[in-house]
Structure formats: C-alpha cells, structure tokens
Symmetry: C2
Subunit: 517 residues, 2 copies
Amino acid sequence: MDSESFRVCGKTVVDYIADYMDNIRDRPVLSSVKPGYLYELVPPEAPVKGEDWKTVLADVENIIMPGITHWNSPQFHAFFPTGNSYPAIIGDMLCNGIGSIGFSWIASPACTELEVQVMNWFGKILDLPKEFLNESEGPGGGVLQGSASEATFVCLLAAKDRTTKRIKALDPSMTDGEIKAKLIAYTSDQSNSSVEKAGLLGSMPMRMLKADESGRMTGPILAEAMAEDIARGLIPCYVVATLGTTATCAFDCLEELGPICNENDIWLHVDAAYAGAAFVLPEYRHLMAGVQFADSFDVNLHKWLLVNFDCSALWVKNATYLVDAFNVDRVYLKHRYQSQDPQVPDYRHWQIPLGRRFRSMKMWFVLRLYGVEGLQAHIKKQIHLADLFGKLVNQDPRFEVTTVTMGLVCFRLKGNNDWTKNLYERLMASGQIYLVTATVRSKLVIRFVVCSRLTEEVDVQFAWDEIRGQADRVDSERDVAPASICNGLSGAWPKDKVDCEELTAATPIVVKSLTQG
Amino acid sequence: MDSESFRVCGKTVVDYIADYMDNIRDRPVLSSVKPGYLYELVPPEAPVKGEDWKTVLADVENIIMPGITHWNSPQFHAFFPTGNSYPAIIGDMLCNGIGSIGFSWIASPACTELEVQVMNWFGKILDLPKEFLNESEGPGGGVLQGSASEATFVCLLAAKDRTTKRIKALDPSMTDGEIKAKLIAYTSDQSNSSVEKAGLLGSMPMRMLKADESGRMTGPILAEAMAEDIARGLIPCYVVATLGTTATCAFDCLEELGPICNENDIWLHVDAAYAGAAFVLPEYRHLMAGVQFADSFDVNLHKWLLVNFDCSALWVKNATYLVDAFNVDRVYLKHRYQSQDPQVPDYRHWQIPLGRRFRSMKMWFVLRLYGVEGLQAHIKKQIHLADLFGKLVNQDPRFEVTTVTMGLVCFRLKGNNDWTKNLYERLMASGQIYLVTATVRSKLVIRFVVCSRLTEEVDVQFAWDEIRGQADRVDSERDVAPASICNGLSGAWPKDKVDCEELTAATPIVVKSLTQG
C-alpha cells in the first residue's frame, strides 16, 4: 500500500469508525456466533499475492463484525468500561504513524518526556500526594503500564527485592533464596483475579483474606493474618489494597491498612484500576483517604477515562526499587544521558518488556481535548445514570438492590439464587443487553455497569424494561416449578462446579431445558 | 469531539501521517533536544477546559516532532527495525475503533478466532512443525504477546511449573519451594537483555553462557554448564536459544541444544524475535533446523515484518503448561464456551495481563495486503541492501567487516577500539545517521541495520558516504594524536565504566574535547 492508497483507505476507515459509533445501537451487543464460526469464513492459508484493501475492509464488516461483542455499545453493561474516545483514537493513530519505540530517553526523547509530563498532569488532577509525581524532589514518579495486572506484578517484584535486601541486612547469614521462600503477600478475596495471578507469576504466596460484610479489607483483618504468618516464621512483604473491587466496587480501608504496612516495612500497592477515575471529582476523594501511606498507586485510563486500551497509570514513591529489580543494562542500550533522574527516566527499567509504545500520545489528546472539566462531566454523568438505574430497580418490589456506587449497580431477585440465575440466563439468551454476575457472600447478584460513553437515560430505561420483562417470565415459571430447577444447585452457584454452569451464556435451547426442568 | 469533528480531524491525521512518511528524509533522524526540553514547552498542569484539536495537532509538529528519534527514517540503522506499514496502521485504527477487550472467547469471539487463524497462517508461512499450530490435533497453539520479553518470561513460568510438578512426582518429600530454589535456566551471553530480565522477573537464576567464537551457544557449551550444575544439586529447567542475536545476528545450534533439552525434560524456548522473520524465505530455513525439539518459538512481527508494535508471535507445543501456570478463574470471567480447546482458547491464560487488544487485526491486514510474496520481497530487499553496504565497507582498506548477515552489518576501523569509538562519536555528533555499537569478544564494532521499509540503495550510499567522510577525519587525527586518547580506555570499552562513556551520544563539544586530547 503506497501513500496515496493509504490516504484513501485511511479516510474510508475514519468514516467507517464514525459510522460504527453513530449506528452502534443497530448492532446486537452480544455476538450470536458459535465457537469456530470464523474458521469457516477465513481460509486456512494466507494469500500468496497481496489483496486489495477494499476486499479486506469488506471482510471486516462481513466476517469480523458478526463475531464482535460490542464493548462500546450503550447496551454493554458487563465487567467495567473499556475506555474509548475519538481523541484517543486520533492520538493512537499518531503513535502508530510515528512508530517510535521509547525504551530509553534517546530512543525518542518526546516519548519519555511527554509521559513524564502527562503523568504529572494526571497525578495532580487526582490530587495524589506530590511524592508520587516525577516533578517532586524525591525518587517518585509515574509510568504508563499496559495493564493494572502488570502494575500489580512489577510492584510485587520491587517489593520482593526491597524486602529481601532489608532482611539480608538484618541477618546476613540468610541466603536470598531462604528469605524469598518466607515472603508472603496479602489481598482480599474481592480483589481482581490479576492480583492472585501476580502472586503466581512472582512466586509469592498471595493470601486472599476474607473481606468484611461490606466487601472491604480492614486493618484488623490484615493484622490478624500477618500475626498468624509471623508466628509461622513468614515475612509479610506486599499488600494489595483495592479501591473499587470488581464484584461490588467496595473500597478497602486504606487508612487502617496504611499504618500497618508502613510500620512493618510492607509495600502497600493500591489497585484503583476502575474507581480511581472517580477521583477526578473532589467529592469522591475521601474514598482514597490514606493514600499517603501507599508505596504505589495504579488507575487505568483505559477503563473509565476514555483512553483506549492499553493505558494504565502507575505511580511509585520510590522508583529506585523498580529499577533495582529490573535493570539489566547492555552496551547497545547505553546512551549519553542515561540516568535515573526522574526527569529523564529510562522507562524500560520500570516495566516488564523492553519495548514500549508512545502511549502518552493518546492520553495527551484525551486530557487536552476533554480538559479536566470534560473528564469530570463524563464521570458525573455515568454515576448519575447508574443511580437512575438503581432507582428503577428499587421501585420493583421483586428485586433487591445490594450495591449502587460509582457507576455500578448490583441487584438480584429476592429469594433463592436460582431465580436470579434463571433471570440472568433469560437475559443472556435474549441478548438485548450484556451483563455479568458475581457471587457476594454466597448471594448471586447481577452486575449492571454504565460502560459506554454513549449511554444515555434512554439506554438505561431500555435495559430496565428488558430486565423487568424477563423477570415477568421468571415469575410465570415460579408458579409452576420448584425454586431449585437444577439438582445440586445451591446458594453457592456458580462457584461450585455444577452441570448448570454450562448455561451461563445462554441460547434458546438452554432456556427451553430450564423451562422443561 | 463528536463524530463530525472526528471525521475531519481523522482525515487530517491520515494526511499528516502520509506526509510524514513521504517527507521523512527531510527530518534529521536523531533528535537534537536536550533532556528536559519538553517541560519548557508543555505547561505543568492539564487544561481545565477542553481544547481544539487543531491546537493539539499543531503542537504535535511543534513540540513532539523535535523530540522524536525517527525509527522509520531510512537513515535509522540502530538496534533492529521496528515494524511499520500502512496496512498495520489501518488495522490498528479498526482495533481501536471497535475497542473490544478479548480476554476470553465470549468477550469478543472474532478477536480470539482471528488470532487463532492468523497464527496458523503465519506458522505455515514459516513452515513451523505442525504441533505448534492451533489447528493440530494436539495441545499446541499460537498466541500474540506484547513482546518477545513477555514471551520469554511466560515460557519460563510454564517451564518452572512443569519442572516443579515433574520433580515433585519423582520425590514427593520435596516441597515446591525446595524444588523451585534448585531450578536453573541457561542462555548465551549474546542473548537479548530481556532474557536475563526474564530470569530476574521469574526468580530463576539465568546463566549467561559464554558463546563460541561465532557468537553461538552450542551443545557442548550447554552440556558442560548443565553437568556442573547437576553436580551442585541444581535442576536444569529452561533454555533460551537465540536465532539472530542482537549484537551480531548469530544463530545458536538448535540441532545440538534440542536433543540435550528433550532428553533432560528441559523446556527449550527459541527466541527468534528478529531473524525469525527471514524464515518467510525457504532459503533461510536451514537456520532454524532443530526447531522440532523446541517447546516454544517466538518471532516479532513488530520487528522485521511490517506490523506496528506490539505484535510478538509465540507458539507453544503444549498450551496446557501455560494455562496451568496462570489460570485464576473467577465468576465474572466465566462463560458458556469456556474450555481449553485450542480451537477456542481463553487467551487470558496464555499471557501476563488479563486484558488484550485486538492485535490480530493489524496482522491480518499486513498478511493480506502484502501477501506471502510481499513479505518475502520485503525481507529479500532489506538483506540485499545490507549486503550492498557490506560490500561498500569492504572496499575500503581502513575498515574491517566482522558480520554481514540478515540485514545486519558489523564493522570497525582496523586497530585499537579507540579509533572505532572516535568514529562512532563523530557519527553521532554529526547526526546524519543513527547507529549503535556492540562489543564482540572485546572488539568494539558499529552495527548497521537496514531498518526502515523506505530504505533504498541511495540511502545505503548516503550512510556509507557519511561514514567514509567521518573516517577521513579520524584519519587526520591519527596523524596527530596517540591511539589511546582517553586515559583508562582499553579494548573492553564500553563494557567497563569509564568517564568517556559519557560521550556515546556526542555533541560538537565532545568532538572538540577529543581533538584537544
């Protein structure tokens, strides 16, 4: 493809994307394809001769689109939002157009320095303690990671290195291996799966402490677990506190956890992947009280802040720990200005991979084109829409609303979990809206999240009408069938393995079998 | 930004990118900014009100471009290429426009299935053993990782898990911790820095074995090291062989290493990040002889195969090992078709992060718009251009050419390293072309790589004219100054820490100080 074809093709694709967004309500949010659908449509071998771009673009519509789950549809209410906006798309086009790999300052000075600067911008927007900013006197700073998963993991490794050196200094007779074998990490059972995975990746047992009734990890919960482990000869090393858990958007008690971690030289990482975005609004910042105790803090711009995946903002109070854990310098990577001056960081030492995209470009476009007020308005509106949905559900006496917070509503049909499960399966079979479930203290709930930036009140009403309509059908079934349709199902579904687990993404057949049950 | 503004802005940016590529020779390949330049130009706070896109786009030209190292300039000959092409940019625009997050099949079926299919395409293009393909009967398959760094690391973790279970089965009295503390990995001292880093990240000692005179890790080298370690009570677990080392593009002897690994149940990972691309041409496939012994194989499409970063193709013979090492399932991630059927993999278990971009889209565009013949022509041309450069250097009796292979030429001025260092500093001070150095068996060499897809014979001639011209200046200095200008410099530069290391990215002042020396 030469420049002239690119000009034509690129502009066609710009229109295609705009048309896609303008008409996204016309597409079913959930794909109805069956596994393997694409292998019938895409030949088993790559073409020998190059093809025309028009053919490929037509295949995007005909082959790809039927298999897309539309994350940016206003009918998408599953998981948490994925960031998406026109300014981010523009910024990423430029990132690709320039195509530099900013692993060190010299490899593209603008790539490093823009990242430093927008991380300072964003840290100030959230009102983070200034020790986290690159512009502070100290060794703190911000860096863009690919995901909160990576942020949690790199901080675990830094914590491991820091603790190993500290213990070694206290007891030089211990080997590094002996020390590392005793290290232990903590999080709550409500933290994201990526936190547990970080423990697996980093070979450090990650204790999943049972959260309190509100889904929070508290000081006493942590203190008790630590005391047990210390008595067993283990060394507490790393704590991951969540601000905004995945299931119910609960906030761990940073003000209680922080002093415990600080007093015991334990690295405190704050995973605010989703809810951290709300701190652009001063009225929600009380929820991060205690952040001054943290060693690291992460929030995904690619979730609730309109930047396309991947763009996860991580700040650390002392970047030296990251650099010490990861630094493997080679001749071909050396350059004149090499230093760990936070003003000119060599970001390759702050992350897992060597290479890195010019991610700050899309973030810069979003921050400038929206402005702080634009971001605040976005978050405010999404919280408002979720509140509205919560009110609608609350007005229906068949339902119980267990959570309304930060753009998330968790609800269920009153009574046995089976009815909520039945409702959920009908919703999935109908496919008008996309939701996922969670189990909270053995209660099955359906999570409703305002995900798309295109969601309006009319979409919230649409979702509620659909849910209410399906609940009517459940009601009619309640009259003829016992609550426990599937043998062996209990309140613990779907955590326990049961045959009915197969039904979580439903088809008409599934509903039929349930109706027959 | 609404849809209408995006249509206008997006098309302007398409033209901006095309103009940038069309006129890239007008821009100096290396930025001449000083550290911190951008902090003077970008205000310390984000704007409160949203700005106009025209203002931001003007700032891209005025603020960002001066700080860009132009990786796609035909005068860029440093490191290895970074993939960049119009089809890839188009594909990534669509990836962002759709904006789905394909962590599981249901999260976007097309995202998973297109990745399966293009990985099969690409595996066949390279003529990989079919056990690596998703379409084989067995548990093998391909997956896109963000980088070769991540590929090396995830395979290390899978190897660790596999070996731990194996040893545990042999000796149930050993704890996992005891086993893991004995595991050891091997690579050569010529492997990429990311391999050493994988050892750090995964808490497994990575022995950097001294390569032979040709820069290769051979069977005897590995066997000797393993025997030493086994005698010390350690358990060999993981070997990373490189096809195309960073310094000199050497190829480890897979046919010797493979049987040793297989006989000893050691995971053999092949890092063909750069040179693996050349296997699109049958005439180079003898260089991967022995690949059938490997457990995993990685090549970066984002290096030499025209796909924008990030896009690293990893195949494994048995994906179960990855899944076993990483699987942390939660209710909110469950879906009906969940399985580890290689036809419908849940790719989140094959990688570090939970989230993932629709990376296969850009790969699909590149494979279809270039076709296999287009990719072959690209690699052929780049190898030809490097060969041409090698011939030019060889014709000058002042120079010694140490490597000409696969688009890479390593050369030096005959004699003491200081003259090559002096030449390199002059080249960097002049800034007409960008190169990096390497130290090979204590000889300093300058690496010349054909990086940009825009490079033509005229650019190779330009580079050679510049190098020859700067060599003339070194010659004139040879007449007046002793070879060892910098006290303490020896043949080992720049591996040893010396003051002169500060001179690797030069300015006129540096050259002056050298001339005065």
